[in-house]
Symmetry: C2
Subunit: 334 residues, 2 copies
DNA sequence: CTGTTAGCGCCTTCAG
DNA sequence: CTGAAGGCGCTAACAG
């Protein structure tokens, strides 16, 4: 049978309550007693049972992290950040991957509720917002990652996607490019829509022609496939901006296979700054997002909210992404 | 206050035991009663409390997955496989990342024990084996992923690394290469040691010269850095075999930057077949490992073990990796 | 087929 | 500073 706090108490010749105190508020236990209990715990190899603790205390010290694509290095970095921060504060993190499937998202949310997570970190898909409402109804604090919260009653840690889109085009413009392909993902994703707004906004002022292309999923293969359309475009495209690095990497491969030279024939910019961008065959210029930091901060915020309860001030933090210049872009040679 | 099974019972005008039956063995509840309970659950928005259930039933239906590097696409695929399988059987998966740090590994193991996981999936580092012994002492079934179990009392799902190393060299030999660089990771990892045995074994019979190089961590950056040594080698190296794709990708970048042409100047082979290999600028020939399947099968096996208890037959499953030929290799042009 | 009941392991008063 | 007692939400007998 599993050994419990009671066995420890017996072994250490103290009452169970004392052992509990030792576990949770060691300062209230005399040193001599403390030593006895420590010894007993070591002898018995006792480890407290989290379920029992949760049940009794009402708090699970567990937070959920639900991401849409664990395969995307951006999200694994977010997960690392959140996981490290949770660990430091002695929280357990349950990481769930929805594979961009609303069904799976729903299911994971249900499991997380069963686990009585005390907080949720999520990058909600458009459809996923319904599930999130459910969490709200249960008063489970939720903070959005990489998507701005609409309500002031909710925290979020996101990026200024408008600015990101805008600065990529401005940079390209400063290089002399005037006809740019913009390869975007689904507009149902707020990130994509905002980046596009930034793109169009900056193009407007500068007499730049934007040719829009679209991929259904923001993965490498989709970028590879869409490249044919870019090459076939009648616009004299000299630069390509992709909504994320995965797509850009796919585009890069397709271009090289077609005998094009980067950055000579085409300047290429991605978005995210995943690790593979720096070590791509042609290191990718990109709009960097501090993924680890996003995850770490979001975890910190939700922990604060969980611990401070009602008198917690919700914040919508927005980071500015940063242009990272590498080898895939250069001034238009004319 | 949280609503419980008791509230549901009151609302549905039945006893708590009946509600419990409804939840766990619906077939033992009459249809009429079932409907009443269903309605009550919906009205009240009731979701059972997993902690209470675990505490009472003794089984947590939770399995842990501890990987050494969540940043490596190989492991995210493993995680996807394990996660999907766990979900299907209504198990909760707790994914932990040790970042190849024994301290973190230890800590996660402790948390997992607190959670009373009923099974553990792990790719143990050399040092991590101590922690695993702890699990054994507690009779928590553990199955190794990507590392063969030494004991017959334990399951594992691993790859035949000897074969993988061997077949890469054989393939290169068949292409006419006679002087090959072998870039390995730490020999303390069983995978690396076995691959090296395969490499040396197949080289021996064929009058092939292997020049050994080593990286401390199997990441892209390390491959990039070690390439200088390869280029500086006095051996007339014509092919390079790397212990994983991440390293190979780093080597590839360094080679291209040095003006080398792949596969003309050097044939290059990686290991794992992560997604980025296929879409690298020069698609990588590699030794493919079915990561998703590894994870899925391991999860299935541990679930079987958990559910069948003592009369469970442990298995050490070993997959054969497969050579995937892409553009980064060609016959030696002489 | 349904109802009753006794804990699972722990934490938290509240007296001593 | 320590000890005794009650109960968190649920399940698993067992009795009706």
């Amino acid at each position: 049978m599993a050994i419990s706090i009671r066995d420890v108490a017996a072994r250490a010749q103290v009452a169970v309550g004392t052992v509990s105190n030792f576990l949770n508020r060691p300062d209230r236990v005399a040193e001599a007693t403390r030593n006895k209990i420590e010894a007993a715990i070591a002898d018995l190899n006792f480890v407290p049972n989290a379920s029992a603790r949760h049940l009794r205390s009402g708090s699970s010290r567990t937070i959920g992290l639900l991401v849409p694509d664990i395969t995307n290095p951006f999200f694994t970095e977010v997960a690392r950040g959140a996981g490290d921060t949770a660990s430091e504060s002695d929280y357990t993190l349950i990481l769930c991957n929805s594979d961009e499937d609303p069904k799976k998202e729903e299911r994971h949310l249900k499991v997380l509720i069963e686990q009585r997570i005390c907080g949720l970190l999520i990058t909600p898909s458009f459809e996923g917002l319904a599930g999130v409402a459910e969490l709200n109804r249960r008063d489970i604090p939720t903070t959005f990652i990489d998507r701005r919260a609409d309500s002031l009653d909710q925290s979020s840690v996101s990026m200024d996607d408008f600015h990101g889109g805008k600065s990529a085009i401005e940079y390209l413009a400063s290089l002399g490019h005037k006809s740019i392909a913009w390869v975007n993902g689904p507009l149902s994703m707020a990130q994509c829509a905002d980046r596009e707004d930034g793109v169009m906004d900056s193009a407007k002022g500068q007499n730049i022609k934007i040719s829009k292309f679209q991929v259904s999923q923001m993965r490498s293969q989709n970028g590879y496939e869409v490249t044919q359309n870019i090459l076939a475009s009648i616009a004299q495209i000299t630069a390509i901006f992709c909504a994320n690095d995965l797509v850009a990497l796919g585009v890069l491969r397709a271009l090289l296979e077609s005998g094009k030279s980067i950055p000579k024939d085409y300047a290429l910019i991605g978005y995210d700054d995943i690790g593979f961008s720096a070590s791509a065959s042609i290191p990718l210029t990109t709009i960097a997002q501090p993924a680890y930091k996003l995850g770490a901060l979001a975890a910190q915020m939700i922990i604060n909210e969980v611990e401070h309860g009602k008198n917690f001030k919700h914040e919508q933090i927005v980071f500015k992404p940063e242009l990272v210049i590498r080898a895939s872009t250069q001034a238009l040679s004319k």
